[in-house]
Symmetry: C2
Subunit: 504 residues, 2 copies
């Protein structure tokens, strides 16, 4: 969920001031309403070190009645806590009905900092995740609102902040050796956090990722996340009481400050034809060998292709497969579901094409249609596509658990490039079949798609089945990136499998 997010977002001071003023006033009212409605609220601040958790908690509580909330800091477990189940201290701190409990770090320590530090063993991890999920579900079922915020900054930004803090005597104490260690091993720590977010982003207690490079932007997004969620919960409860007269969404609405991915993609990347030919040739040769290696080691491979119309999926797939043994791979094109497919679960037809161990299944368009075209065209309900992120993650996790390599490519081009390609297709008799009225119609919905794609990339890029956004304006660059990514992923997997076999 994290690495793809565009951390460069910021906000003008004037916009910030105006927005905050409005939301702060609203928050005061909402707090009183929650008190009257006897709704217990838990707000969790998690995130990377030096992302500004303390500052942000302070800004948030400025607008609240201090008699109505408590702030808890979760440090390393005390002796009292170590001698009890890890959720004990959080159960005892659950807020009474109508009160707000704010946590600077929370029960997530267990699967994050404490995991990084080796205090939580890997064998305890799965049951810790299960315990966390039950805990949050039990509280939610009982009416508690759980708002989970993850404050995110980059490695460089974190380093800069630690440096600044360390430079002054007054603040140097705030940077500990473990903080420095986590910056040094930022990638490992990020991976741990990614896994935590993947496993605990639920319908009833979803995460909100806060881009925290710009502190004002972060404050604004936090305020917006909290107020919009409380508004939603109050509306839902009043609907439950008074009957379905008002129309309240059945699922928690996503925040109006969305995480961007596509905005951060550099589409100017290019390759010359000479380099393209050389690199592609080299990579294809490696892939040919890897392909037979896969077969011997019985590793299944699932590769999905999505992207803008005319984004270059077909061309990339051809370059990928051109030297692979055709008995060892299959390309599955995905069109609208047929009659048989329509009377089954939407994932059923993809399950039918799950590759055998040792084989490669390539999908030209995929199960992600659910959260793109089906979402935008209304072919399924809002509840259905919102549920789909988890369903898809679970399906991919099941494949990965059975030993599969799972990769998903988003072939990205900009609107101008698409227009150029559409026109080229119309003018070229050999390519005319590729362009239909529907393509032009979809193009009109570019912004809706962009929003859906951003959400999809954030919510379904996982450690076990990552999304790769391919800079596609230059076809040479794009094709080489696709083939290289596959080659490297296979090499990594083959190495792991060999190592595991040796250890046996």
């Amino acid at each position: 969920m994290l690495e793809k997010i565009d951390l460069s977002v910021g906000v003008d001071k004037d916009v910030y001031k105006a927005a905050m003023e409005e939301m702060e006033a609203k928050l005061g009212v909402l707090q009183r309403s929650c008190k009257e409605a006897k709704i217990p609220v838990m707000i969790l601040f998690e995130g990377m070190g030096a992302a500004g958790k303390g500052i942000q908690i302070n800004r948030l509580i400025q607008a609240m009645d201090p008699r109505g909330f408590s702030v808890y800091t979760s440090n390393r477990p005390t002796e009292e806590e170590q001698f009890r189940p890890f959720l004990w201290s959080y159960w005892t701190r659950t807020p009474a009905k109508g009160r707000i409990a704010i946590f600077d770090r929370s029960w997530y320590r267990r699967v994050q900092v404490d995991r990084f530090d080796g205090l939580t063993r890997e064998t305890e991890l799965l049951s810790a995740f299960q315990d966390i999920l039950s805990f949050e579900r039990q509280l939610t079922d009982d009416g508690t609102v759980i708002i989970k915020l993850f404050l995110y900054i980059s490695k460089e930004e974190q380093k800069k902040r630690y440096k600044r803090l360390s430079a002054s005597k007054e603040t140097a104490w705030r940077v500990s050796d473990s903080d420095r260690q986590r910056n040094k091993e930022y990638d490992r720590y990020l991976q741990i956090n990614e896994e935590m977010l993947e496993r605990t982003d639920t319908e009833y207690a979803p995460w909100t990722i806060i881009e925290a490079t710009d502190k004002n932007y972060a404050a604004m997004k936090i305020m917006s996340a909290v107020t919009s969620r409380l508004e939603y919960e109050l509306a839902k409860r009043s609907e439950e009481k008074e009957g379905p007269a008002r129309t309240v969404a059945k699922t928690i609405p996503s925040d109006r400050y969305k995480n961007g991915v596509l905005s951060g993609i550099d589409l100017s990347k290019k390759l010359t034809q000479t380099r393209y030919k050389k690199e592609l040739n080299e990579l294809q040769k490696r892939l040919e060998i890897l392909h037979s290696e896969l077969y011997r080691l019985r590793i299944p491979v699932v590769i999905g292709f999505e992207g803008w119309d005319a984004g270059g999926k077909g061309g990339a797939i051809r370059r990928l497969t051109s030297r692979m043994d055709p008995r060892g791979y299959q390309v599955n094109p995905t069109a609208s579901p047929n009659d048989i497919e329509k009377v089954h679960h939407y994932l059923w037809r993809f399950w039918n094409n799950v590759p055998k161990a040792g084989h490669v299944a390539i999908f030209d368009r995929t199960w992600y249609g659910r959260v793109m075209v089906e979402r935008i065209e209304g072919f399924c309900t809002e509840e259905e596509w919102k549920r789909a992120y988890q369903e898809i993650n679970e399906m991919e996790a099941h494949m990965a658990n059975s030993g599969a390599v799972v990769l998903k490519f988003w072939l990205h081009i900009d609107k101008d490039e698409q227009e150029r390609r559409f026109k080229e297709r119309m003018e070229n008799p050999a390519k005319q079949w590729k362009i239909t009225d529907e393509d032009w119609r979809n193009r009109e919905k570019w912004d809706l798609y962009e929003e859906a794609v951003n959400e999809m990339l954030v919510r379904t890029s996982t450690t076990y089945a990552p999304w790769i956004v391919v800079e596609g304006n230059d076809k040479y660059y794009a094709r080489v990136k696709v083939v290289r990514t596959v080659v490297e992923a296979l090499e990594k997997k083959i190495k792991e499998v060999r190592k595991a076999k040796k250890e046996k």
Copy 2:
């Protein structure tokens, strides 16, 4: 869930015939309605070997239109299956809308037979359970009805049946060496099945345990489980379409043939005073030593007491604690919740009394109030108490995962014995405080309580936190059984902990 169930239940032939005839006619109609309503249905037959899965499937399908269902048998995974994720073959067999798929063994193989045979490694187990839960949740969310039946017979009954089958040439081939092995190691296999049922008994796809000693009884219960579930699902869907005019329960109703536990308890068990004194004295001495051992090894212990009014909880607790170091245990009496407790989750007050590692927490009445008095008196909604079984199991699992011994005693007496004790209390000035009008009122609801207790014992007796039903008509016998059970459980745990420490 299993070991406490009374397997001696049976049915008269006449009752059976009449009931089946009626239900078979109903099933035919329901099948057609499900087809019209486009509901996909999956019926799973799991259970102990020789429990009669084949026969029962046959009886069930007699009443159905053969064009509308398919029967699948799940044997050991074929090569095609082994080379794919284990849910693949079940995904591909999910029924189309309006069709019924019946499974003779199912995806549960993976966490049951295949686990017993060592084909599923213990490290793969937790993720297999997660995959199963997601699979069933995804299908249910999409409208599939999943009916899960577990056919249960005792070790002796199984042995008898294998013997009978082996005796004749025509049927001997049906008993395999693995069948014999599972009978030999019945207890280990039972434990594996217990764990499977515990982990996968969900609100959306609950298990029904079928007592399968009497084949007619089993057939009747299966038929009843299937028809009542389909009726419920049809009603729910028509309510969703036409608005909440009719009143359909929010949760799947439990079957009218309930599993009995208390009916199988032998209340005539007795001890003489001499033996009582001798045994109790011996056990208490052992307990004294164990208690300080617990402290050194930092093992937390949670012991809950429930039972009929005047069942002897107080007396048993006194005998249990009389020689324990008071600094190392605490008795927590549970009364109606106070004002502070009322504005928190119902489990909150018990979480506050979770023992520190090395300490013993005894609860005189417990969190089980939720599924007994609160259920019967309507202090919580039906949804709330139905949800509570899972919540309680999760809380106890969390404690057990953190290293705790968790035991729960049900002090059982019959109605006559209760009356005798009530009267004795009224006549004895020193005991009069113990008896109130409420006790007499509760007594009038004996049958309702018995039903609730039976359900509670089946659904919350787990491998990690078992219920012990104590034959309580004779106080001597009861007290010795309580203290002995605690002593033996602690000895077992201490042995395990010592072994684990040595291995480190």
